[in-house]
Symmetry: C2
Subunit: 221 residues, 2 copies
């Protein structure tokens, strides 16, 4: 297959996805939801941050969590234990969630009202960048253990995101990391990124993150 054919095929897949994403977005609007799509390398702490977020917000708002993995429903089970609605999508060998997968969950819950929908994508710093799920913001996590040059090495994901969370800042003393370098290099690619530094383990920085979610949910009311 030559390059041209490959590109036009990718374009077709993405266009089809965008159509479904747009209908997801309308469905989320009906539900009154603010929707984030959390993307990162495997093991950057997406599920831990979701646990913290649910714990902080579940008494004041309705939350739906959709988790994506190739295999296992570990993440959904972790979230369900907290007492909120959580659905697992297993993708088999697919390297990202797509809008159609998410639309199936929406159909099941279309009569509910959620203030906040958190989608946890497959751990992958490349493929999820091209796939709109109908979210309002992609939230990119980069942990301090991954090396400060990750944003420069993976620019498409930085460009596709509205928010950058530098995670696991409790580990800074034990790794060579400067969170400001991570943020600076990301801002060179995408100057509009809203940024947070936090640790889901110690709770440091979580309040700012929760504050941002509250203000975004307020806008959707």
């Amino acid at each position: 297959m030559n390059r041209l054919k490959k590109v036009s095929l990718e374009k077709k897949v993405v266009t089809q996805n965008d159509r479904i994403a747009s209908s997801n977005r309308k469905a989320f609007a009906k539900m009154g939801s603010f929707v984030i799509n959390m993307v990162s390398s495997p093991g950057s702490g997406k599920t831990s941050l979701i646990e913290q977020t649910v714990t902080h917000l579940q008494d004041e708002v309705e939350i739906l969590v959709i988790t994506g993995d190739l295999m296992t429903d570990n993440d959904a089970r972790r979230i369900q234990r907290l007492g909120v609605d959580a659905f697992q999508i297993t993708t088999g060998d697919a390297c990202h969630l797509d809008a159609r997968m998410v639309s199936k969950v929406i159909k099941e819950r279309s009569n509910e009202r959620y203030d906040l929908v958190i989608i946890e994508n497959v751990g992958n710093l490349v493929c999820p960048a091209s796939f709109d799920l109908g979210e309002h913001a992609k939230v990119l996590l980069v942990s301090v253990t991954e090396g400060d040059d990750k944003p420069l090495k993976y620019p498409p994901m930085v460009n596709a995101s509205k928010v950058l969370v530098v995670s696991k800042i409790d580990l800074i003393p034990f790794v060579e990391s400067d969170p400001e370098m991570i943020i600076d290099s990301a801002h060179r690619i995408n100057p509009d990124l809203v940024t947070f530094k936090l640790s889901s383990k110690t709770g440091e920085g979580i309040d700012q993150w929760i504050g941002w979610l509250r203000s975004e949910m307020e806008k959707k009311k």
Copy 2:
């Protein structure tokens, strides 16, 4: 595009890749090389382990390093500083190296003899699993900071690999990780995996890894 068309197209791309990979393998045999393809999440410590490996072996054997990233030549420059041949492949938006990209480097170096060729794939725990580059072994790194359930969540990569390296074991005291759980869960998917636990920072476990590389290189002589 329906699922059937997508699957048959993926199959075609992989078949084409396999043909080039097979010719890469012949070229590597001519060069007298043992070839590893290092795969992992972004930031699991592939480049650091390559630096350690080069430092330990460069006085006794000839080494070629090929590094893959979407963008930047940071990794190749890190390796070149040690005084061995290192080539950077930038993939743009592609989520993995393919055999054709590697074949171009081989063509440039076809008159050289290398005992060890180390290919560092794009940081991605999904896509590189399907693409043979002509290597003798895929070496999968999982760092202790990523969560012990990663092998169960990404079984295709575990199945495609011959070796599992649990990396960054110096960080065990600061994260909740049991390397034996990582290894056990990987062995449940692929019982033949050769495994190592090491830290490129402290040097713990590096000797066993170097010993394995020496014995594999010996077999190619």
